[in-house]
C-alpha cells in the first residue's frame, strides 16, 4: 500500500533551528514529517518494483511458454524471487503506513479519513487480490495449468498497478481537495466519490505509473548490464536486460509528455508549487525557464541559473508571452520551502532527460547489435541503475514539499495535523534504524541471489530444449 507524504527535508524547516541545542532532540513536528518522509521514501521504491516487475516476469514467462527456451523460464524464476522479497517488504511497509497516518497525523485523519477514504477501501481489495495471486504464482509452478499459472502472474501486476493508481488518488486529493464544503472549520456535504475523482488524480497517477515503469526498468536492466560487463552468464543476462530495458525505455520516452501535462496542471491548481519548482519569485510575463541555479530565499533571487527566455510561460500556459504567477502573489506564510523543491525538480528533470537519451541509444542498439555487447554501452546502463529511483524520490519531494505548509492544500496546515504525543523524535530514530538495516539486508540478499545465478540457473549453451 503506497501512500502520500507529508513533507521532508530538514534543511528547509531549519533542522538546526529546531534542534533543542541542549538535548539534541528534534522538534516533534519536524520528527513526524521526517518519519513520514522516510517511511514513504522507503515504501515507494518497494511498491514500484512490486507492481512493475510482475509485468517483466509475465513477458519472460510468456516467451518460455511459447518457444520453450529454458533461459526464459530461469529468468522468470529469478525475477519472481525478487518480486517475493520486494512484495513482502512493500506489504509490511504499506501496513506500517496505514497506521502511521494516524500515529503521526491524527487530526488530519479524523477529518480526511471519511472524505478521501474511498480509494483506500478499493485499494484494500486490489492489494488483497495481489497477495492471493502472488500465492498462486510463487507456489504454483508445476501445480496448475501453465496458462492459468501465467495468468495469476499477470493478475499480480494488474492488481498491483491498480492499487498504486488508487493510492495516488488519495495523495492527489491532498493537492486538489474535492468532495466536501469547508464552512467555518467544518467539513460538510462530504462526497467520497467526488473526492476520489479529484482534478489532480488522472495526471498524477499517469506520471507516477510511468515513473514506476521507467525506474524499475532501468534499475533491473542496470543490474543485468553490470553482470554482462563482468561476462557472467551473458546469454541469461542479455535476455533479461532486453525485456527490462525495453519497458524502461518506452516509459522514459513517454514521461516528458506526461510531465508537460502535469506542469500545466500544477500551474493552474497550485501556483505556489510551480513557483517553488522554478524558484520563480516574481510574477512576470515571458517568464524564463531556469536550469540549475542556487535560490537565495533572503533576497528572492536565483544565482548562476541558465535562463531560457519565455520557456516557463510556454511550459506552464502554452504561450511564450503569458504571465506566470510568482511567489510574490502568495502570502509569505503560505510559501513552500523554495530551495529544496527547486533542487528536487532539477534532479528529477535532469535524470529524466538522461534516461531519455539512454532510451534512444537502446533503440539504436536493437539495430546495431554490437552495442549490446560493448563494454561502454553496458557500463552506461549499469551506472544508471539507481537513477530512476532517485528521480522518483525527487519527484515525490517536489509534490510533497511543494504543497507545504499545507497537508490539505488551502484547508489544513501540516502543523495543525500532527499528533499531540511528545517524543516523536525517538520513534523517528527507531524507524530510521529499522529501515536502514532492512535496506542493507535486502541489498545483501539480492547480491546473493545474483551471485548464485550461475549455480541455480546455468543452462549450458545450446540446450534450449522444447517442452
Amino acid at each position: 500500500m503506497a501512500l502520500y507524504n507529508n513533507g521532508l527535508w530538514a534543511v528547509d524547516y531549519g533542522l538546526f533551528r529546531n534542534f533543542d541545542s541542549n538535548r539534541f532532540i528534534m522538534d516533534d513536528f519536524l520528527a513526524a514529517r521526517m518519519q513520514m518522509a522516510l517511511s514513504l521514501g522507503f515504501h515507494i521504491i518497494y511498491a514500484c518494483i512490486g507492481m512493475v516487475m510482475p509485468f517483466f516476469m509475465a513477458v519472460s514467462h510468456y516467451k518460455w511458454l511459447r518457444n520453450g527456451n529454458d533461459v526464459y523460464k530461469n529468468i522468470t524464476k529469478a525475477w519472481s524471487k525478487g518480486v517475493a522479497i520486494f512484495f513482502a517488504t512493500g506489504a509490511v511497509s504499506g501496513t506500517v503506513l496505514s497506521f502511521e497516518l494516524g500515529l503521526l497525523w491524527p487530526e488530519f485523519m479524523k477529518h480526511a479519513g471519511p472524505i478521501f477514504g474511498m480509494p483506500f477501501s478499493l485499494e484494500g481489495t486490489a492489494f488483497f487480490i495481489e497477495a492471493i495471486a502472488l500465492g498462486f504464482f510463487l507456489y504454483g509452478w508445476d501445480r496448475f495449468n501453465k496458462w492459468f499459472h501465467w495468468f495469476t502472474g499477470v493478475v499480480v501486476g494488474v492488481s498491483g498497478l491498480a492499487s498504486g493508481i488508487l493510492v495516488v488518488s488519495a495523495n492527489a486529493w491532498m493537492n486538489s481537495p474535492a468532495g466536501f464544503d469547508y464552512v467555518n472549520g467544518e467539513y460538510l456535504n462530504i462526497d467520497p466519490i467526488k473526492a476520489m475523482f479529484n482534478d489532480a488524480w488522472a495526471l498524477q497517477a499517469l506520471h507516477m505509473t510511468i515513473a514506476a515503469f521507467a525506474s524499475t526498468g532501468f534499475a533491473v536492466a542496470g543490474v543485468h548490464a553490470a553482470m554482462m560487463v563482468q561476462k557472467k552468464n551473458v546469454n541469461f543476462h542479455l535476455k533479461a536486460f532486453r525485456i527490462a530495458a525495453s519497458f524502461g525505455a518506452i516509459a522514459a520516452l513517454l514521461q516528458p509528455l506526461s510531465g508537460d501535462l502535469s506542469a500545466k496542471d500544477v500551474a493552474k491548481r497550485q501556483p505556489a508549487k510551480l513557483a517553488a519548482m522554478e524558484a520563480h519569485y516574481h510574477t512576470q510575463a515571458s517568464a524564463p525557464l531556469l536550469i540549475g541555479g542556487i535560490p537565495d530565499p533572503e533576497n528572492k533571487k536565483v544565482d548562476y541559473a541558465l535562463e531560457i527566455p519565455g520557456m516557463l510561460s510556454y511550459l506552464a500556459h502554452g504561450n511564450f508571452s503569458a504571465e506566470v504567477k510568482g511567489l510574490d502573489t502568495i502570502p509569505e506564510r503560505d510559501h513552500p520551502p523554495v530551495p529544496v523543491v527547486h533542487y528536487a525538480f532539477q534532479v528529477m528533470v535532469g535524470i529524466g532527460t538522461f534516461l531519455m537519451v539512454l532510451s534512444v541509444m537502446l533503440l539504436i542498439a536493437f539495430r546495431r547489435k554490437q552495442w549490446l555487447s560493448a563494454r561502454w554501452f553496458l557500463m552506461l546502463f549499469a551506472l544508471a541503475t539507481p537513477l530512476g529511483f532517485i528521480a522518483v524520490e525527487a519527484g515525490w519531494t517536489v509534490t510533497e514539499v511543494g504543497r507545504q505548509p499545507w497537508i490539505i492544500q488551502g484547508i489544513m496546515r501540516t502543523a495543525d495535523a500532527v499528533t499531540p504525543m511528545p517524543g516523536i523524535a525517538w520513534s523517528f530514530y527507531l524507524f530510521t534504524a529499522v529501515y536502514i538495516s532492512l535496506s542493507i539486508v535486502i541489498i545483501f540478499l539480492l547480491h546473493r541471489q545474483i551471485k548464485m545465478v550461475p549455480v541455480q540457473y546455468d543452462v549450458p549453451a545450446g540446450s534450449s530444449q522444447k517442452h
Binding site: V92, S121, G135, F144, I190, M421
Partner: protein
C-alpha cells in the same frame, strides 16, 4: 449500510485473529520446539503457511481501512493514546514478515539463517502480545482522553494488568490455533502426535491465561464478568465455546483434521463474540465514561454507503479467489504427499 460496515469490521477482526493468529502461532510453536525436531517443524510450517500468509495478514489492513474511513474519531483516538504499543506492533509486523521471506529467499544457506530464525520467532511472539495488549486497552477503560501528564495519557493507557493479561491470552490462543492447524499438516505419525501434544499444552496455557484475564479484570475493575455472564448472547457464546472445547479434546486423536480446525475456529470466534457483544455499540471504553460508539463516532452517511459498497464489491472479488487459494494448496498437498 452502517450495519454492513460494522459487520465487515467485526469479520475482518475475527478473520485476522483466526488466520493471522494461526500464522503468528506457527512462529510461537517454533519457539517451543526442541532443536531435534526444529528443522522438520520448520519445513512443515513453511509448506503450511508459505502460499497463504500474505493473504492472512490482509485482514488487518481491511480492518484498519474500515476504521479510518468509517470511524475516523475512533481511529485517531486510538492512534494517539496507544501510540507506543502500536509502534511496537508495527516493528513486530515488519520484522516478522521480512524475516520469514528472507530466510526462504536467501540463496546462500549459512549462519544468517540463525539470525532470520530468531527474529522470526521473537517477532511471532511479540506481535500478537502487543496486538492483545492493544485489544485489551481498547476495553480496559484506561484510555483517558483528558489526561494531562505523559504517563497517564500514553503509557498507563496500555500498561496495566488487564491489557497485559489479554496480551498473554492472545499469544496462547495463537499458539493453540496454530498447533491444531498443524495437526492436519503433519508429515508422519510421529509429527502428528507431537502436534497433538502441543495442541493440548497450548490449550491448557490458553485456559490459564483466560483465567488470568478474569483475575486482572477484577484487579483493574473492568466489568468483564458482567459483560460476558450478564448477557444472554455472551453467556451462550461462552457455553458453546466450552462445549466445542470438550468435543475438541475427545476428537483430537481421531484424525478428523477438518473437524478439529472448525472446532478451534468456532471456539475462538465465540470468545470474540462474547467479549465484543455486551458493550456493543461502544467500541472504545474511555475512562470518564464517554465511550466511543460505533454509531455516534461514525463517518457521514454518504461515506458509509460508499464504504459499504466497496466492501461488498471487494468481497465478491476476494472471497472466491481466497477460497480457491486455500482449496488448491490443500488439495495439492494431499495429492502430492
Amino acid at each position: 449500510m452502517e450495519y454492513i460496515v460494522i459487520t465487515y469490521l467485526w469479520l475482518a477482526i475475527v478473520l485476522y485473529f483466526l488466520l493471522g493468529g494461526a500464522d503468528f502461532g506457527v512462529g510461537i510453536i517454533e519457539m517451543f520446539t526442541s532443536t531435534k525436531n526444529i528443522s522438520r517443524t520448520r519445513r512443515t510450517m513453511y509448506h503450511a503457511i508459505g502460499p497463504i500468509w500474505e493473504a492472512n495478514h490482509m485482514w488487518l489492513i481491511i480492518a484498519i481501512v474500515i476504521l479510518f474511513v468509517g470511524f475516523p474519531v475512533i481511529y485517531s483516538q486510538l492512534s494517539v493514546h496507544l501510540h507506543i504499543p502500536l509502534v511496537i506492533l508495527l516493528l513486530g509486523i515488519i520484522a516478522r514478515g521480512t524475516a520469514f521471506v528472507f530466510r526462504h529467499y536467501d540463496a546462500v544457506r549459512d549462519n544468517m539463517q540463525e539470525i532470520y530464525n530468531s527474529i522470526f520467532v521473537w517477532s511471532s511472539f511479540i506481535t500478537p502480545l502487543f496486538l492483545g495488549i492493544i485489544a485489551g486497552s481498547v476495553l480496559s477503560g484506561h484510555i483517558d482522553a483528558k489526561a494531562h501528564d505523559f504517563a497517564t495519557a500514553y503509557v498507563f493507557s496500555w500498561l496495566n494488568w488487564f491489557s497485559v493479561a489479554v496480551g498473554l491470552f492472545t499469544v496462547a490462543l495463537c499458539g493453540f490455533l496454530a498447533s491444531v492447524y498443524l495437526i492436519g499438516e503433519a508429515e508422519d505419525a510421529k509429527d502428528h502426535h507431537r502436534f497433538i501434544h502441543k495442541a493440548k499444552t497450548m490449550n491448557i496455557a490458553a485456559v490459564c491465561c483466560g483465567a488470568l484475564v478474569f483475575l486482572a479484570a477484577q484487579v483493574e475493575r473492568v466489568p468483564l464478568a458482567n459483560w460476558i455472564f450478564g448477557d444472554a448472547v455472551g453467556l451462550s457464546a461462552v457455553i458453546l465455546a466450552t462445549l466445542s472445547l470438550v468435543l475438541l479434546w475427545t476428537q483430537i486423536g481421531s484424525g478428523r483434521t477438518t473437524l478439529l480446525r472448525i472446532l478451534v475456529g468456532f471456539q475462538v470466534t465465540m470468545i470474540l463474540l462474547a467479549i465484543s457483544y455486551a458493550h456493543f455499540p461502544d467500541f472504545v471504553i474511555i475512562r470518564n465514561g464517554e465511550n466511543l460508539s460505533l454509531f455516534t463516532a461514525q463517518a457521514p452517511e454518504k461515506t458509509m454507503q460508499a464504504l459499504g459498497s466497496a466492501l461488498l464489491i471487494g468481497s465478491v472479488l476476494i472471497l472466491p479467489a481466497l477460497f480457491y487459494l486455500y482449496y488448491s494448496f490443500q488439495k495439492k498437498k494431499v495429492n502430492g504427499s
